[in-house]
């Protein structure tokens, strides 16, 4: 199943071209090799869940897609533009077409919820019509964005420190979606949340996809989220556990196929079975 061609897109985008592509992507931190020869294409409107064990490079991969990390070698293409040759200004302009929901929300501590959500409207050099609105119109948009993620207007004046984990995640989602981006990246959107709040986040991701027709890439450990939200699952495996010739992508296909995947490594992960790892870690 490794590196199988992408046949899972269910979008009807007029150009049906790839929004994001990586070619022979490699990433090293010092002596540590994290990503090896990753070639992935993601179509417009697709929702891709990237799964895999901790430390296999999922978040690193996600961050290279918007140029937050520069790959050691290889290419990242966003809308057919090579991020590696873009100027800082071009990269900034391109990033304003994306939204990023961080693992711990990454809300600005010193700003209120309203200021956090309005931040992209006020500070991004985007071509979006939303950045040229009056203060009143921006304020209305912020309130609307907050309601879309199910938070009351009373939270507008609160600071991130006053909110629960689930509320912070929703504010992060509202901030990521306010400029109506073409691509939204989610870094472990449901980690650390209770099952009900996790499902609320899943629903919000699905609704944002339906409403704004965004392309979404989410990194998750949560198989329930991956099955529910994604129309394509991509599983990465840690390089330390692979031979030199093996592909780092050990599964690439729709959620319905992952159950029938014969690769024991995939089955071990989706069943959450420690198995032989206990012996490897000398845990008796």
């Amino acid at each position: 199943m490794a590196n199988s061609p992408d046949t899972t897109s269910n979008t009807n985008h007029p150009f049906s071209q790839h929004l994001v592509e990586t070619q022979k992507l490699n990433m090293r931190f010092g002596d540590k090799h994290i990503l090896r020869d990753l070639t992935v294409s993601i179509r417009h409107g697709q929702t891709v869940a990237i799964i895999g064990e901790s430390g296999c490079g999922k978040t690193v991969f996600l961050k290279t897609l918007v140029g937050l990390l520069k790959p050691t070698s290889g290419f990242v293409l966003f809308d057919q533009q090579d991020l590696g040759i873009l100027s800082e200004q071009e990269l900034s302009s391109l990033r304003s077409r994306t939204g990023f929901v961080f693992q711990n929300s990454a809300l600005f501590d010193s700003l209120t919820v309203a200021e956090n959500i309005a931040f992209p409207l006020m500070h991004t050099s985007s071509n979006s019509t939303r950045t040229n609105l009056s203060i009143n119109d921006q304020s209305q948009l912020v309130k609307q964005a907050l309601r879309e993620v199910g938070l009351p207007d009373t939270t507008l004046k609160q600071h991130p420190a006053d909110l629960s984990g689930g509320m912070r995640k929703r504010v992060g989602l509202a901030r990521a979606l306010i400029l109506q981006p073409e691509l939204v990246l989610y870094d472990e959107p449901t980690t650390g949340l209770d099952p009900i709040v996790s499902d609320i986040i899943n629903e919000l991701i699905m609704r944002s996809r339906l409403k704004h027709r965004v392309t979404s890439i989410l990194v998750t450990h949560d198989m329930k989220t991956a099955r529910k939200v994604a129309d394509r699952i991509l599983m990465l495996y840690p390089l330390q556990r692979l031979n030199e010739h093996e592909s780092q992508i050990i599964f690439d296909g729709p959620p319905s196929e992952i159950e029938h995947c014969t690769d024991p490594r995939v089955q071990q992960f989706i069943q959450g079975d420690a198995g032989s790892r206990l012996r490897e870690l000398n845990i008796v």
Binding site: L94, A106, L107
Partner: protein, 288 residues
């Protein structure tokens, strides 16, 4: 009977291995220092590049200005006043031995205006604001807030660093003047009211020896110090390691490096200004 301890055998090539590991560690250290200088230079280049665009983020600038200027003013004034008084206490004994205590004003005020005022204001700024800047930016780095800025197409150096550097450059001369003024007041108050030195003579000798150039030299020095503190503190914050310890280390490194650089710059800027003074005025008379 106590057992005889076994003599530890030293491998034949231990000396060579030790020399090699020493050489490696020297090279590694050299490598790290070279990387630090190169990285800091690039950081400064980016600050200058973004600073020249003159689109200052006003919110960050006003907040940094308030932190650097308004909140630092009382502590800088207070320490300046006590330093002035301490100078009076320490110099009185020496001057009274040779019957020249009436000239204390010149020494106290010259020392304050040229050296202690700028260095004191800069040290307070490095301790109070520099380490706070490093800790704040370090926390933003660790909690991915800097990545969040980048992901929204906002340059974090333009948004977070440039306003802080501008605020430090703009306000450190004010803090220096405050330290000078309070030091002069403290030194005079102690000399006149406690040591009973004549006020007219105190200020007359000060007027003769302390020139406008001395005051200007202190202000010029302070600009170097202010820029250095803001840049170094922001650099360490930006490159903070993960975790609470990483942020703590960044704050400590910011203060220690700033403080060392303040003293090093004080020497070299002082020498340069003196050279400049004698270049324009070889006779050594007052320029102002």
């Amino acid at each position: 009977m106590a057992s005889i301890p076994e003599v530890q055998k030293i491998p034949k090539n231990a000396g060579v291995a030790h020399a090699l590991s020493f050489r490696e560690s020297v090279f590694q250290r050299f490598d790290r220092v070279t990387f630090f200088i190169g990285d800091l230079s690039l950081f400064v280049f980016q600050i200058i590049s973004w600073g020249c665009r003159l689109k200052l983020r006003q919110g960050t600038f006003v907040k940094a200005g308030y932190q650097i200027g308004v909140l630092s003013l009382p502590v800088v004034g207070l320490t300046g006043m006590f330093i002035g008084m301490v100078l009076a206490v320490q110099s009185f004994f020496q001057f009274s031995q040779i019957g020249m205590e009436s000239r204390m004003g010149a020494v106290i005020n010259l020392t304050l205006v040229r050296e202690l005022g700028p260095v004191l204001a800069a040290t307070m700024l490095a301790g109070r604001v520099g380490s706070a800047m490093a800790a704040e930016l370090g926390t933003m780095r660790v909690t991915e807030q800097i990545d969040a800025l980048k992901s929204m197409g906002v340059n974090p150096i333009h948004f977070l660093v440039v306003p802080r550097v501008f605020a430090a450059l703009l306000l450190i001369p004010v803090l220096t003047l405050m330290a000078d003024f309070m030091g002069i007041v403290g030194g005079f108050a102690y000399s006149h009211y406690i040591l009973h030195i004549d006020a007219h003579q105190y200020f007359e000798f000060s007027r003769q020896y302390v020139t406008g150039f001395d005051l200007l030299a202190g202000i010029v020095k302070s600009l170097f110090f202010g820029g250095c503190i803001a840049i170094v503190s922001c650099y360490f914050g930006f490159h903070s390691d993960r975790g609470a310890q990483g942020v703590g280390n960044a704050a400590t490194a910011a203060f220690v490096t700033s403080f060392v650089l303040i003293l090093v710059m004080d020497l070299f800027v002082g020498i340069s200004l003196d050279k400049l003074y004698y270049y324009f005025n070889p006779a050594g008379a007052s320029l102002f």
